[in-house]
């Protein structure tokens, strides 16, 4: 086909919408990112925005005997200190299963631990203040009394009868099992000229993004709408999960995702 060259603007076939095929196209966001003019969540500041700091468990497994936050609550510029029980009145527990991994078990998990912590670092209270520094000051004087329980940390003994069950409602400590049967392994070993045995120990690994996690949430009480600014890779999932657990309709929740400082799979979660 002959391309008509009567175009007064001097446009050619390469100016058609599909003309990017085969071309190197610089990403349009590079300039602002290189000039320090991106907009990551922690760059955002809404009027009268509050900051939250989570007080976290130093124990891997413990009963929470009591939380004394009276003194911290009365510190200047502290807005609220919220425990798991208090938060549970507005948010339902999360069950972390995946539809493509049939049989995966997950005990209901509260946003903040109630009565018991199951891992080191689990949140036991949220400290809300006018600045992060004040919230951290207040978190330091919240007193939590724990009764330590036996921690289950070894995969090889997790299913032994004498090992405590972390979530009795699940029946055992086995979250998921997948068997791959590719033939008779025992026979293959028996017929081998030589069998070499070795133990492999793998460290915990995860995606480690340079930008830490960050969320800014804006509940408009007059409109009954929640706007969540989050560095995430799955804004629709965040919308769906937030609506589900906060008792809202999807249309009441808007998720805005601007620049994200790396996701690597870990930022699908809230």
């Amino acid at each position: 086909m002959k391309v008509a060259s009567t175009n007064p603007d001097g446009l050619t076939v390469l100016d058609r919408p599909n003309s990017y095929i085969g071309k190197v196209v610089p990403r349009p966001n590079l300039e602002r990112l290189m000039q320090g003019r991106g907009l990551y969540v922690s760059d955002m500041e809404l009027p009268r925005m509050a900051h939250v700091v989570f007080l976290r468990s130093p124990h891997a497994h413990a009963k929470i005997i009591g939380i004394d936050a009276i003194e911290a609550r009365h510190m200047p510029d502290v807005i609220a200190i919220v425990t798991g029980k208090e938060l549970a009145t507005v948010i339902t527990p999360w069950v972390g299963v995946l539809s493509h991994l049939k049989g995966l078990k997950s005990a209901p998990q509260h946003a903040i631990a109630i009565d018991r912590v199951c891992w080191q670092g689990e949140a036991v209270a949220a400290v809300v203040a006018t600045s992060r520094a004040v919230a951290e000051d207040a978190a330091e004087i919240v007193r939590v009394e724990y009764e330590e329980l036996e921690a289950v940390t070894d995969m090889r003994t997790a299913l032994n009868p004498e090992t405590p069950m972390i979530h009795p409602s699940l029946g055992d400590n086995l979250a998921f099992e997948r068997n791959l049967d590719a033939g008779s392994v025992d026979a293959a070993f028996a017929e081998s000229d030589e069998v070499v045995e070795a133990d492999f120990i793998f460290g915990r690994h995860t995606g480690v993004t340079l930008e830490p996690r960050a969320v800014v949430a804006d509940w408009n009480v007059a409109e009954q709408r929640l706007t969540i600014y989050q560095g995430t890779q799955a804004p629709h999932m965040v919308q769906n999960i937030a609506a589900l657990h906060l008792g809202l309709t999807d249309s009441q929740v808007r998720v805005v995702c601007k620049d994200v400082g790396g996701s690597f799979g870990i930022k699908v979660h809230i």
């Binding site: 966001n29 300039e31 993004t209 930008e211």
Partner: protein, 161 residues
């Protein structure tokens, strides 16, 4: 020593006077008081390099400096380096080589790379890597970044890349 203190300094060529708490770090001062959010906070303990800025001609970790330590100093951030055009060629090389993905490390990386380019005349890849070893990139990998810095060094030496 918990009452606010008055500091006077120069930031990107402008005079700034501010009352700051003694515990406020320079990164938070730049970001929260001056709204210069191009200085990023990744690790907040001097390891990742995302908060790198120039102070009195030397690069520093702004998360490890207190704002009160900058009294009387001259601070230049990524915004200042961009607006002055000082690193326009380096930024162009980053763009051409696609030496960034998420961009979170990029301001600190550019500030540190420019510091290298001012000190070193030879575009030695090992020296570039050493100079940028305090700046973490978690997406792209360092190859393209080193390429971009090397290209800029060669161009500044008047050679062809």
């Amino acid at each position: 020593m918990t009452a606010p203190m008055l500091i006077s300094l120069e930031v990107n060529g402008e005079c700034v006077d501010a009352h700051v708490l003694p515990r406020l770090n320079l990164a938070d001062f730049l970001r929260e008081h001056l709204k210069l959010t191009g200085t990023h906070i990744g690790c907040e303990h001097g390891v990742c390099g995302a908060c790198t800025v120039r102070m009195n001609g030397e690069i520093v970790r702004s998360c490890l400096m207190l704002a009160v330590q900058t009294h009387g100093a001259s601070v230049v951030t990524i915004e200042g380096l961009s607006d002055s055009g000082e690193i326009a060629d380096l930024q162009a090389a980053f763009r051409d080589r696609n030496a960034l993905q998420c961009g979170f490390c990029t301001p600190g990386m550019l500030v540190a790379a420019q510091d290298f380019l001012k000190q070193e005349t030879e575009p030695d890849r090992e020296r570039i890597r050493e100079h940028l070893s305090g700046n973490y990139c978690r997406c792209t990998g360092y190859q393209a970044i080193v390429d971009a810095v090397e290209t800029t060094a060669r161009a500044r030496m008047g050679r062809k890349p």
